[in-house]
Structure formats: C-alpha cells, structure tokens
C-alpha cells in the first residue's frame, strides 16, 4: 500500500543520481533471488502434506503420487472424525462468542472512563497476556479433577475463554478508543443508557475490530491441542486436533495419506477464515496481536 502511494510522485521527479541506478538494479535482482529461495525453502515442508493427501500409497516422502486420488479425503471423513470436527466447532465458536459477550462490556468502561480508573486494570491484563498458558494447565487439571469438570466441553470452553480474555479485552479497548465519544454523548443526551450506547453505536462502528477479536479467538481455540488433550479424555468429546494426534499414534505408518488429508481438512477453516479477514481488513488481524509497533 505505502509503496504504491509513494511511487506516484516519484515518477514525476527527475531521474535518480546515475551512480545508484545500476547498483540499485543489481541489489533488486539479488533481493528477488533470495526471496525466491526463501519461498522455496518455506514451501518444501508443505510438499509432503499436499502430495501425500492425494496419493494412494503415501509415505513420509514427498513423492509424486503413482495415482492421484481423493479417496484419502473421503476415507477420513468418517463418523468419528466428523464428530471431532464438530467438537472443534463447538469449542471454538463457544469460546469466540463468549469472549465477545464478556470482552465488549468490560472494554467499554476501560476505554471511556478516566485513565486513573482503567490503568491498573489494563496493566494487569497486559501482564496476564504474557503468562504462558502452558504452565497454567497443571493447576487447571488439578482444579478440574477436584471440581469433577474433566471431560466437560462447557468447562473446557470456559477455560479457553478465560485464558484468551485478557488479550481480547485489551484488543477491544484499543479498537474502541478509535470510536469518537461524541456520538455516544448525543445518545446519552437522548436518554440512552451506557449499555444501549455500546450495543447500538459503539459496537456497530467497530465491527472490523470485533471481527478481528472473534477470528483471533476462534483460530487460537481451533488450533489449540494441549488444552483439550489434557482436559478432554473421552474420545467422543475430543476436538479434531486431539483426534488427529490419536489417529497418528494408532494408525502410524500405515495411513500417512489419511493423516495428511485429515490435517488439510482440519487446517482449512482457519486458513479460509484468515484469508477472508485479511482480504477485508488488511493486516489488522496480524498486528492486533498486542504489538502496535
């Protein structure tokens, strides 16, 4: 974007100093070469995933398949695996919706009222975003055992929501800050409550931000393996991430084609979701991860 903008006036200027011309072109050629090599290096590990998924005799090697087939995809979409994907959807959708419902009202006073009021809370939230969730899983397991919450999808959803909330509130608050307060003040004068102003004015105006928080939570939950791996023991309740891992251990070398096909099907929703959000909102998704360089 920025290059396109700055390139327009540049063309109307007199040509650059002659010494930089050829050197600049050589540097550009080297840059393209390096970028091509990087792209190939990043693509190579993917090779196996795509080739094995359409191969009838897949191994660990990225081999050109003897015969192209979509049977792996058909075979892997069995009842159990579909059930696992449905569990993933319930967990991710549940966590994402719950996060929005809880984070939006929490972010509102933090964005709108005095810095004195919100600052310590925001500092605490930001501190919490840095803590490794991995470490919290040991005590959470203990808690779940004592409260008999193991194998409970709702409880696991609540835990996943809780761990994502600090970041979600922080992101929501930043997006809310961009919405001018004047519009709500008009609504207040008309007698609308703070809650109505939030629901009718602020949230619709920050729809891109809300979408980012939703997608962010959904994708993180969908991709999470460790939390459901520990908290959901019953195979009937496990999401796709855990199911694929178990599948890998059970069937091992015999079914690399199925493993690859399952992995692709499992990755597809987050890749599609990311691409859509990226298309509509630009890089906001990536940069909302707490870093406002």
């Amino acid at each position: 974007m920025t290059t396109a903008v700055s390139a327009t006036p540049r063309t109307s200027r007199p040509p650059r100093l002659s010494t930089t011309g050829p050197r600049r072109r050589a540097a550009a050629a080297v840059a393209y070469l390096v970028l091509a090599l990087v792209a190939i290096a990043f693509l190579l590990p993917f090779g196996w995933l795509f080739l094995a998924s359409v191969s009838d005799q897949a191994s660990l090697k990225a081999d050109v398949p003897h015969q192209l087939t979509l049977r792996n995809f058909a075979d892997v979409l069995t009842g159990d695996n579909l059930h696992a994907l449905a569990n993933s959807l319930v967990l991710s959708l549940g966590a994402a919706v719950l996060t929005l419902v809880l984070a939006a009202p929490a972010a509102y006073p933090l964005s709108r009222y005095t810095r004195r009021f919100g600052r310590p809370i925001l500092l605490g939230l930001l501190f919490a975003t840095g803590l490794p969730i991995t470490a919290i899983l040991v005590p959470v397991y203990g808690l779940f055992v004592q409260l008999e919450l193991l194998d409970s999808i709702p409880a696991t959803t609540l835990f996943l929501t809780a761990t994502g909330l600090p970041m979600a509130i922080w992101m929501m608050k930043n997006f809310m800050d961009e919405v001018p307060i004047a519009l709500e003040e008009a609504a207040w004068v008309d007698g609308a409550s703070g809650f109505r102003a939030l629901l009718r004015i602020v949230l619709p105006l920050m729809l891109p931000g809300t979408t980012v928080v939703f997608t962010f939570t959904f994708a993180l939950t969908w991709g999470n393996f460790f939390v459901p791996f520990i908290l959901l023991v019953d195979p009937a309740k496990q999401p796709a991430s855990v199911a694929i891992y178990q599948y890998f251990g059970l069937h091992g070398t015999a079914s690399y084609g199925l493993l690859a096909a399952f992995s692709i099907l499992y990755s597809l929703p987050v890749v599609v979701l990311y691409t859509l959000v990226q298309r509509v909102l630009g890089n906001a998704f990536a940069l909302s991860g707490g870093v406002k360089g």
């Binding site: 840059a31 792209a39 006073p109 840095g130 397991y141 992995s263 890749v271």
Partner: protein, 308 residues
C-alpha cells in the same frame, strides 16, 4: 472506586449526591465483573492453587492424591538438585534464543527489508507462503516437519537426489530440528510487524541520506534500525513469551527426545505432571515457567507503559 474518583468531584458536573456517585461507580465496575470473574476462576485461581500445590506432594494417583501433605520447599529443593531440571532450563533458553531471538527476529527483519519496495506480486506470493506456515495449526506444523525430517522423509530424498547422504535428523540434531521448525512457523509474525514498522520510516530521510552518499548498510544501521527500535523491542518480547510456552510443536516432532534432548520446560512439566503423575513437582516446574514468563511480561509492560 469512589475514593479514586474524588478529585473529579471538584468539577461542577460531578457535584452529585453520594447515591448518584455510587451508581456511576457501579456503572463502571459492573460491566467488568463477568469477564473478571471468569478470569479469576480459571486463570488467577489456578495460578494461586499452583503456588500452593508446589509446596505439597499432591499426586494424580496413590495415597497422596486425595490427602496431599504440605512438604515445604521439598519440591523446589528437589528441582534445583535435579539435573533434568537444569538441562530443561538450558534447552528452553537455547530454544528461545535460537528460534525466536535469532531465527524469527532476524529472519523476519531480513524478509521485511527484502520485500520492501519489491514488486507487488512478489510481495504477495512470498508473503502468502511465509504467512501460510504461520496460519497452519501448530499440530499440523509438527506433522509436516516430522515428515520433512524423517529418515525416509523429503529432506533426505532431496539430499540423495543430489548425491549426498541423508541423516536421521530428528535423532542426530533434534534440538536444531525443532528450532528450525519453529523459525519456519513463527517468522511470519516478525515479518508482518517489521513490514508495518518499515512503512513508517520516512522515505525522504532515507533518500536524503542516499544523496549524501550513505551506503545501504549505513542507512539501515543509522536511520532505519534506530527508528524501528520500539517495534523491535516489543516484537522481541512478544515472540520470546510465545516461544517460551511452545509445547505442541516439540511434542509432535520429538516428544522431548530422543532421551531428554529436546525436553524444554513445558515438555518436562507435562512429563512430570501427566506422565509420572507428580502433580506437585509439575506445579513447581509450572511456577518456574510462570516466573520466567512473568519477568519478561514485566519488561514488556514497562515498554508498553506510555500506550496505556
């Protein structure tokens, strides 16, 4: 909270009855309650329980499972005498420095610089491939790299094709393998952060320096990098915290092995708590992991301070 708002009451608009002020404070606090109740229950509570558990012999099975005893600092004393702990701490440091501080950070910066002012299509293609590795679920990234580095995997097939001998990468150099896999997976984040920061570096400044005869290296060293200092610091903190907690990638690729050669702190904690059923010892390890994360988090806070 009324006390906090006191100075405002000197303003005419805020001169209201105590009841009204109470309602106003409630209006500010109430919306926060549900979210913070959940955080307290499933985030803060477990951390406090973890501190307690680390001073007990609580286990998953056996007699101490139902009636744990307070054993003081024994878990911690055992931890600091445990060579496996020292090793896992060291492996964590190497993993974080190698894959985040060096790999993702330098790689992301290099990619951002290389992609700046390149053709739109080249940026889009390379960007999509690098970001693709990042968007993939961590579990799939683990499978993909397991297959790539396996004995009969893609890398060895390529090496054989050019007449070289392959190796059992995951056995011969397991730590380097997981580091490279994590660089592959995480570089996109740094690249996106640095690309955004680079676009904020004023073009005139660089052009003026170029006209004055400053080499590309000097422009980078004395203009671009100093202007990006803040982005670099925050990014370093973020990726350090993310990498510290990496579990799935290593778990899938090596399971912490061979032996204990890739047993970073999260893996060692998992093994102690869930494989050897020593929840108390696992809790002590979790506290160390939390403490390390907490220290980095405080540094991160200090840098973000002006933004709040």
């Amino acid at each position: 909270m009324v006390a906090v708002d006191l100075p405002e009451s000197t303003r005419p608009a805020a001169r209201r009855s105590p009841a009204a002020r109470g309602r106003r404070a409630a209006g500010r606090i109430l919306p926060l309650v549900p979210a913070f109740a959940l955080i307290a229950l499933f985030f803060l509570g477990p951390i406090l329980w973890c501190v307690y558990a680390s001073f007990t012999d609580v286990a998953l099975t056996g007699a101490t499972a139902s009636t744990p005893h307070l054993i003081g600092l024994r878990n911690y004393r055992r931890m600091f005498a445990d060579p496996a702990f020292g090793q896992s701490l060291w492996l964590t440091v190497v993993f974080v420095v190698g894959s985040a501080v060096i790999g993702q950070n330098v790689g992301g910066m290099a990619l951002a610089l290389l992609m700046k002012s390149r053709h739109r299509i080249a940026r889009a293609v390379v960007g999509a491939i690098v970001v693709g590795a990042w968007v993939m679920p961590e579990l799939v990234a683990g499978f993909v790299w397991y297959a790539f580095l396996a004995d009969d995997g893609t890398l060895n097939a390529i090496l054989r094709a050019v007449g070289l001998h392959g190796k059992s990468w995951l056995y011969v150099m397991p730590l380097l393998s997981v580091i490279i896999a994590n660089v592959w997976r995480g570089t996109a984040f740094s690249m996106l952060v640095y690309s955004a920061a680079l676009s904020n570096v004023p073009e005139d400044l660089l052009e003026a320096a170029a006209v004055d005869g400053a080499s590309a290296y000097r422009r980078l060293r004395h203009i671009t990098l100093p202007l990006m200092r803040r982005a670099v610091m925050t990014n370093l903190m973020t990726i350090t915290l993310q990498t510290l907690a990496v579990f799935t990638l290593i778990f899938v690729m090596t399971g912490g092995g061979p032996g204990t050669k890739t047993q970073t702190l999260p893996i060692y904690m998992y093994q102690s708590a869930f494989k050897f059923y020593q929840l108390g010892y696992g809790a002590a390890l979790a506290i160390v992991l939390l403490a390390v994360g907490g220290v980095f988090s405080v540094i991160y806070l200090r840098m973000m301070r002006e933004e709040i």
